[in-house]
């Protein structure tokens, strides 16, 4: 580890920055969590069932897919396939983030993985472009997502029928807008434009033809292939990214 960030921030700073970075994400999550809890009640789930699912599965995508499939007797195979498909993107995300997690030794890496939601991962990637991801930053940024997700889904299951339709006040669009804001943080010029064209085109096409969640894998794959072919200077060393100097 030869390269350090230009300034060494204290643990308190890391904690403060982690909380500050995740705050807007938490705001956007609440309506989605409430909506999920409300949907669960339509399948006969009690608040305790929703609590267990959100605590242990802790994945909006997988949980929405599961509740859509839910019936008695329980369709275990369909739930397994759906969860694996929806979650497969995490493997790619982990491959991308892992080289930037060198501060995480032993159990810390295993614990960090538990909290790797789309949002925490995106903020981690964004952080890594400028400085090292510290253990303090990661957990104070990523753990609140778990707390707010569990709290909002359980609340939704209790107040669900009174909530009404979140789409009426545009709250169904909160996640889309949040992700657009996150994508902007990864802009690196023309290659990124091609990545977005390929990813969005493939995802939309597959969503219309084959259906979700295959579109996520198709879009991710198309974006990665586009980057491979449009990378402008393939042999230029990455002077700006700290992970380029490891080992």
């Amino acid at each position: 580890m030869t390269v350090q960030s230009e300034y060494q921030s204290s643990t308190a700073d890391e904690i403060r920055q982690g909380l500050a970075d995740i705050a807007p994400v938490l705001v956007a999550m609440v309506p989605i969590g409430l909506l999920f809890g409300a949907i669960c009640t339509t399948k006969g789930w009690a608040a305790s069932d929703v609590w267990l699912m959100s605590t242990l599965v802790f994945s909006g995508g997988a949980e929405f897919a599961a509740i859509g499939l839910w019936k008695w007797p329980i369709p275990y195979l369909a739930l397994f396939v759906s969860t694996a498909l929806v979650s497969a993107r995490h493997i790619l995300m982990g491959v991308s983030l892992a080289p930037k997690m060198h501060a995480f030794k032993g159990w810390r890496l295993w614990a960090a993985a538990w909290f790797m939601t789309d949002e925490a991962w995106a903020l981690g990637e964004r952080r890594a472009r400028r400085q090292t991801i510290t253990v303090a930053y990661w957990f104070f940024m990523a753990v609140p997502v778990h707390l707010v997700w569990v709290a909002s889904t359980v609340t939704g299951s209790m107040v669900g029928p009174m909530l009404g339709d979140p789409a009426a006040i545009g709250l169904d669009f909160a996640f889309t807008a949040l992700f657009i804001g996150l994508i902007a943080g990864f802009w690196k010029g023309a290659t990124t434009a091609w990545v977005l064209v390929a990813s969005g085109g493939a995802s939309a096409l597959v969503a219309l033809t084959i259906g979700e969640p295959w579109n996520v894998l198709a879009g991710a794959a198309a974006g990665i292939v586009a980057a491979w072919f449009t990378a402008t200077e393939p042999d230029e060393p990455e002077s700006s990214s700290p992970e380029g100097h490891l080992l």
């Binding site: 991308s96 006040i169 994508i183 990864f186 977005l196 990813s199 969005g200 393939p234």
Partner: protein, 99 residues
């Protein structure tokens, strides 16, 4: 407040699958050092995955969502996340009323 054993089993299975996918990439790649096109391909994962997740809403749900996404995209050039979310939601509400 008792939980059905079958439901517990289903949730535990989904939990294991989700955690496995979150951990697998870390364990696979923590010693990976890539250069050139392979590096560019790995670096493309964040925007590619994030856009693939929202592309059906942005591109196939209708003009209000597409235009509101464009508005959020422009806002993202200048504003922090909360501002982008606020602009996106405001735009989608207005555009849905218009179309």
């Amino acid at each position: 407040m008792s939980i059905d054993p079958g439901m517990l089993l289903a949730i535990a299975m989904m939990s294991a699958v989700t955690y496995f996918t979150r951990l697998a990439g870390f364990l696979l790649a923590s010693r990976l050092s890539l250069r050139g096109r392979a590096r560019a391909a790995i670096d493309a994962i964040p925007p590619a995955v994030l856009f693939a997740l929202i592309a059906p809403v942005v591109l196939t749900h209708g003009w209000p969502e597409t235009l509101a996404a464009a508005a959020a995209g422009i806002a993202a050039l200048r504003l922090p996340l909360l501002g982008v979310i606020a602009i996106g939601i405001a735009a989608v509400v207005i555009l849905r009323a218009l179309f």
